[in-house]
């Protein structure tokens, strides 16, 4: 049995050696490169992100046509609500005529800051993983966001975050937001690879 004082510091010493050894290792080994390449080919890094983006809380405001969707069944927004030229609704039917900066606790009408539709160029409905990924990254379509800005948008934007706390009987995005951000960052760190087209 190791004497008591040494036993107490031993784990730290071992951890310190491990850190020092890790620092001496190259950042990527042939094994990790091979693994990353496999991930790139399979689009594994993007797959969990695509699953989140397809959630009704995200997809309802990313239509490819001019109709926002509502509900977990993603039906077209009642009252013939349409996109409008600035993605904020048509005359008299502006998003903010009803959707304010927080959920309305009396009526149940959802709200969050800057409630609006994503531009049609960022419509996601019906896209496969490959198309979704390339669309997301296309700076001509996404408002000039590079990958870091995309990650930040999905990490911090209050309207995005609403999807995790939508209130009422709306289903929140099922995966915890922190786990989603971890996956986003892993995807970004891996070079933001898109799955192949087929």
């Amino acid at each position: 049995m190791v004497p008591h004082p040494i036993r107490a510091v031993l784990p730290f010493a071992i951890a310190g050696i491990a850190v020092a050894l890790a620092a001496m290792l190259p950042v990527t080994t042939p094994a990790t490169v091979a693994k990353a390449e496999t991930a790139v080919v399979a689009g594994d890094l993007f797959k969990p992100i695509a699953d989140v983006l397809r959630h009704p809380r995200c997809m309802n405001c990313h239509p490819r046509d001019d109709r926002p969707r509502q509900g977990d069944d993603r039906h077209p927004h009642l009252q013939n609500i349409v996109r409008g030229e600035d993605n904020l609704g048509f005359t008299n039917a502006r998003c903010t005529a009803c959707h304010r900066d927080e959920n309305n606790k009396f009526s149940g009408v959802p709200g969050a800051p800057n409630w609006h539709l994503a531009p049609a160029s960022m419509g996601w409905q019906g896209l496969n993983d490959s198309e979704l990924c390339t669309t997301l990254k296309d700076q001509d379509k996404n408002g000039g966001k590079d990958v870091a800005a995309l990650v930040k948008h999905m990490e911090d934007d209050k309207l995005v975050l609403w999807g995790w706390a939508p209130g009422g009987d709306r289903l929140p995005v099922s995966k915890p937001h922190a786990a989603f951000v971890t996956e986003l960052k892993a995807w970004a760190a891996g070079g933001a690879p898109c799955p192949t087209a087929n």
């Binding site: 013939n80 005359t91 008299n92 502006r94 903010t96 005529a97 309305n104 009396f106």
Partner: protein, 153 residues
Amino acid sequence: MPTTFTLNGKKTTIDADPETPLLWVIRDDLKLTGTKFGCGAALCGACTVHLDGEAVRSCQIQARDVEGRDVTTIEGVTGNVAAAVRAAWIKLDVAQCGYCQSGQVMAAVGLLSQISKPTDQDIDKAMDGNICRCSTYHRIRAAIHEASTTLPG
């Protein structure tokens, strides 16, 4: 909590919980009962007023949202568009029971203020959220077209 805003051109201060729906402020506190309650859930349009000139549902706007802003109700809507809408509404005898009509008029003024010669499609998009239990929709559409003929393009 005191909230100061302009109501129908007059500076107005109310003392209300910041989350009070504007509709209650208008009807209960300020006794302007032309604006109607239909659903309280953004579904009918009976409560339509203008906030900074844009049609909104006063049942969804909270007192704190109107601080320093301009609210117009059916009692205070003026100008050439409002006059054209009023004349067309009377000429075509649009109202039946009348309950939805202050919301319809506020929505029609909102539409014609921005699109003076609306197509049927524009009318559909701008007015679909204003429900009429008496189904006066055909007269509302005709009256909007009628009003538009008197407005400059």
